[in-house]
Amino acid sequence: MRKFNLIKALLAVVSLSTAGTLQAADLQDADAIVERANLVSYYAGDDGRSEARMLIKDAQGREQKRQFTILRRDRSEGGEQDFLVVFSRPADVRNTVFLVSKKPGNDDDRWLYLPGLDLVKRISAGDKRTSFVGSHYFYEDVSGRGTEEDSHVLLETNATHYVIENTPVDASSVEFSKYIAWINKDTFLPEKIEYQDDNGALYRRVEVLASADVQGHITVTKSRVSDLRSGGQTTLEFRFQKYDLGMEQAVFSERSLRKPPREWLKR
């Protein structure tokens, strides 16, 4: 509860600083930095839509492309939110839909609709660190990792970034031993995250390749995950982003699985 108040307090700061206050004093509290980065990354606006193009490239350079639209609506800032992911390409998975109800600190609810089998299926999401549709992204990368799941230490503050070390509270629930995040001091966007295994070896990297200001929110337009073990990587490009569309909660109901909400999906 105390934490939540802190978020609220910080929130005020965020809304003031999103335009980019130039000479803001460096923050000292790692938790605060991480919370803010979480909000910037996953909670821009009250809702949003974005069209994603995903390019999965394996170690041999073989490519697969996927295209989907993401709709998001926050139930509470920094708290629960819903995602609807509707696939448009390749054609053989068109209208396949993922519905995720994210509950920080709890198991998400996940549904899947497969039009080819005309099947709505609930997916038990005990583990969010599984691949997102065969890419190098994990579900958690798409929907965000609960900030309370790691302990955070500010390693370094340099001219541009806060460098934060994140160690999992429950080490047995994840495949990494820790990860280091480089959070942009101005935008609070985590621009690079590097994961280390039990041996301290780097094996996974998430990077922001490009970002833009959309309706006053700093927004990632291109990012990449590299699997340093296999040599594969996935690039994700976002286009046609819009925030605060005024989507209703009903958009994220099970009904939308079989009947995707056309009005929000179209550009």
Partner: protein
């Protein structure tokens, strides 16, 4: 023979220079040896550019397949087998330890703790669950039983990760290179030892199997074996010659020749950058006995002729002059036998053959220069000591009497003997037809070797540790492309943008072309709002083509694969198969609620694609790419075989051929094999046909040389008789005994020729010389059985005994070679000594056979 005289003169006049020269050569060669590279990869039995090998390598890359070490954890004591907390804890710990080892492809390691369970959630009915099968080791028997239940539901894991009887669990360790497997297997063994030490009563046994370990371990043991067998062979020959000559002085010379020949040959091989393969590792053992034989001839004769006080040079000149030609010919014929191996299509065998051939000729040259130089450097006192060890005194013993008896016997019973040999040969021919062609690198170890034991145990529990991959590929793409082009053109005839779009993309591989086109059209539709509908219409067509191009998602492609897989699973030869079909059926079943009746293929391409998309939400989505390529136009069926015998693999190939004949492949689909077990069959087939070529060519080359040497067709043919009978007999025997015709046996055929013709050369040369001198056949027989027969027998014994250290080797190919070479020497010596006089006895016109005058005539006729 000016050269010959010059050579002998040189070595007698300037012995010091000869020694120094040879020493320099030896040193030069010896410094190459430390850079030795051992290579035991049976894949290298095929040239790098051999079609099957190239395909195999391509498939390994295409499907991200690696060579694998397979570790078995076996528990036969616990009633639930490996499904108990202790065993699973050990397995977990071992697997975790292996994952972080250098050289392990961590993300592809397969064990209970690294794979996913796909199941129905027990808490929320109707919910599918992707979770780690065994993230941490279970603490209770109930949890262990849950893992058991989960594994048995998943066909991809059941009988692969845990055996059907539940008594064995596997860890499949993909490694970066085969050459790492010996080191890794040792590191793994250390962890295992620690586990066993920590809980000696766990009842857990650990085994390691897989072709890479077998091959790499073989390499290491071969290296050790080389260091033991070769010196041991040297020692044996040394002892044997001591028995014959009883003079250290006398036997030093042959030993020097042998060592010089071996070191220079090996130095040459290594210095040229060739790797030492299993055959090449035997070069020292082959060379040593052969190298010794010539100098034994010189020394024997020299000690006969030399009288103390005389100038040894005169005696030497006579001896060398007398022996040069037969020695040259026997060396050349032996060299030809080995060199004929160059006609096999197998690079390591070629290198072996050519280098031994070189070594034999080198040994001859060394004998001619080194032995005379050695003798003239001896002081007179030592020389006279040499005389005391006259060979004659030793030879009047049992061997001499026995040989004289054989001579009389074979002449007296000549007709019967000839008939007997014809009968034996006829039976041998039958034996040859029953030969089983088979090999298996794991069998290169003795039965009690830990790898053989592991192989046996693991293949008893599991579906098989030998891999073969059946690759189906849809090759048709031009039709799809041109159809699409037509469709697009119809939508916008003459549209310049479309023409441009098509020309920039048309030469790309189908999958890439379609993906790029789709993106380009998507962009166009957005940028060119006026014609949005047109571009979107085209995009639909491109996407349709894209779906069509994914052949192994289509019902047609999948059902063929399914039929083939089910047919193979029905055969006892195939332990188990895993494929895209297995994966699809399993995921489909779980999506549909997990009922066994739902274990079937999705009915449409879209359904298949979406089933796969669901699977890709797991921890190991990339496992899919071991079964199918991302364009879904090529798929691999992984067969687990219980036996790595080439015969069994050949049967599986025949089985598939039969299926394809009965159920023709869909249009455009090609079927090919990959996998180590298959590659072994390929090089074996190449070897069998290659060896036949090599044998035939060696036979005719030796025959040709015999004709030149003896200038007589009849004697030339006679000279070929003993070796022909010997080869027939030996291979007939192999057929009857049921010994598999494997790589070492195959290699033996050609070189038998070169070795066993030596006896006939010496025998016939002397027969002719003596007959010309005496003009009487009985007298010839009498005399031949004094000297030459004795020399032949002695040489046969030297060579045969020289190979006996091989019999004590722990590696089966060495034993095989040792045994059969000794056998060949013995048989060909006996055949020469017994059969040749009997046959000559039957030839009525011996004048014509041996006469000089007729020689001229025959030469003209020839």
């Amino acid at each position: 023979m000016g050269f010959k005289a010059w050579l002998v003169e040189l070595s007698m006049q300037k012995p010091k220079q000869v020694f120094i020269g040879i020493l320099l050569l030896v040193v030069l060669a010896a410094i190459q040896i430390p850079s030795i590279k051992v290579d035991t990869d049976p894949e290298n039995m095929l040239p790098h550019d051999q079609a099957d090998r190239v395909f195999h390598d391509e498939m390994k890359k295409q499907f991200s397949l690696y060579d694998m070490i397979v570790i078995g954890v076996v528990n036969t004591e616990h009633p639930e087998g490996v499904y108990n907390p202790k065993t699973l804890a050990d397995l977990h710990q071992l697997s975790e330890a292996i994952q972080v080892m250098d050289g392990v492809i961590r993300q592809d390691l397969m064990a209970l703790n690294t794979v996913d369970n796909i199941s129905q959630s027990t808490e929320q009915p109707g919910t599918i669950r992707f979770e780690w099968m065994m993230k941490s080791a279970p603490e209770t028997q109930v949890q262990a039983a849950q893992i058991k239940a989960a594994v048995e539901r998943l066909p991809l894991l059941h009988n692969t990760l845990v055996s059907g009887d539940g008594q064995a669990a596997g860890i499949y360790v993909p490694i970066v290179a085969k050459a790492e497997s010996y080191r890794l297997s040792n590191e793994i063994q250390q962890v295992i030892d620690q586990l066993k030490q920590n809980s000696p009563d766990s009842g857990n046994e650990f085994y390691m199997a897989g072709l890479p370990v077998a091959e790499d371990t073989f390499g290491v043991e071969m290296f050790i074996q080389m260091a033991i067998s070769a010196p041991l062979a040297g020692l044996m020959i040394f002892v044997l010659m001591w028995v014959f000559f009883r003079s250290m002085l006398l036997i030093t010379a042959p030993m020097l020749v042998a060592m010089g020949a071996v070191i220079i040959t090996m130095g040459l091989l290594i210095g040229q950058g060739y790797t030492v393969h299993i055959m090449s590792s035997m070069i020292p053992i082959f060379l040593m006995p052969i190298a010794v034989v010539d100098s034994v001839h010189i020394l024997s004769e020299f000690s006969d002729r030399y009288k103390p006080g005389e100038d040894p040079k005169q005696a030497l000149k006579e001896v060398v002059g007398h022996l040069f030609t037969p020695m040259l010919y026997t060396s050349i014929t032996s060299a030809v036998g080995f060199a004929s191996l160059a006609f096999t299509p197998i690079p390591p065998v070629q290198i072996f053959g050519l280098h031994v051939a070189f070594g034999i000729l080198l040994a001859f040259a060394l004998t001619i220069v080194l032995v005379p130089a050695y003798i003239v450097s001896l002081s007179e006192k030592r020389l006279s000591a040499l005389k005391d060890h006259s060979l004659e005194t030793n030879d009047d013993g049992k061997l001499g009497r026995l040989l004289a008896g054989i001579g009389r016997f074979s002449v007296a019973k000549s007709k019967g003997l000839v008939v007997l040999f014809i009968v034996v040969s006829a039976i041998s021919v039958y034996g040859v037809t029953t030969i089983q062609i088979n090999d298996n690198p794991v069998r290169w170890f003795k039965e009690d070797h830990r790898l053989r034991v592991a192989d046996k145990v693991m293949n008893t529990h599991f579906s098989g540790t030998y891999d073969a991959f059946l690759v189906l590929e849809q090759t048709q793409q031009e039709a799809l492309k041109s159809d699409l082009k037509l469709t697009l053109e119809k939508l916008a005839p003459g549209n310049q943008q479309l023409v441009e779009l098509w020309t920039t993309h048309q030469d790309l591989p189908l999958n890439e072309m379609l993906q790029k086109l789709a993106f380009a059209l998507d962009d166009l539709a957005y940028d060119d709002a006026d014609q949005e509908q047109l571009w979107l219409g085209m995009l639909d067509e491109v996407e349709r083509a894209q779906s069509d191009s994914k052949y192994f998602l289509s019902p047609e492609g999948l059902s063929y694969l399914n039929g083939l897989e089910q047919y193979l699973n029905g055969s006892d030869l195939v332990g188990k198969s895993n494929s895209l079909v297995t994966l699809l059926k399993t995921v489909y079943r779980e999506l549909q609620g997990g009922d066994a009746a739902q274990y079937r293929l999705p009915v449409t391409s879209d359904a298949a694609a979406q089933t796969i998309l669901s699977f890709q939400s797991s921890h190991r989505p990339d496992d899919l790419w071991h079964m199918v390529t991302p364009d879904y136009r090529s798929t691999a069926l992984w067969l687990q075989l219980k036996s790595g015998d080439n015969q069994d693999m050949s049967r599986v190939i025949a089985l598939v051929d039969q299926y394809v004949q009965d159920n023709p492949l869909p249009e455009g689909v090609e079927l090919n094999w990959a996998g180590l077990t298959y590659i072994n069959v390929v090089w074996q087939e190449q070897m069998v046909s290659g060896m036949l070529n090599s044998l035939i060519s060696a036979f005719f080359m030796v025959l040709l040389m015999m004709l030149i040497l003896f200038r007589s067709i009849k004697i030339g043919l006679l000279a070929m008789l003993p070796l022909s009978v010997t080869i027939l007999f030996i291979y007939g025997l192999i057929g009857f005994v049921g010994k598999d015709y494997d790589m070492p046996i195959a290699v033996l055929s050609a070189l038998t020729l070169g070795l066993s013709v030596d006896f006939a050369i010496h025998f016939l040369e002397r027969c002719r010389a003596i007959y010309r001198k005496t003009g009487s056949w009985p007298a010839t027989v009498e005399e031949v059985y004094q000297g030459p027969a004795r020399a032949i027998s002695r040489n046969a014994v030297v060579v045969a005994v020289g190979f006996t250290p091989l019999l004590f080797a722990p590696l089966v190919p060495y034993i095989t070679v040792g045994f059969f070479l000794a056998m060949i020497m013995a048989v060909s010596a006996v055949v020469t000594v017994v059969l040749l006089p009997a046959v000559i006895n039957g030839i009525s016109n011996k004048q014509a056979l041996f006469s000089v005058n007729n020689d001229q005539k025959e030469k003209e006729n020839a």
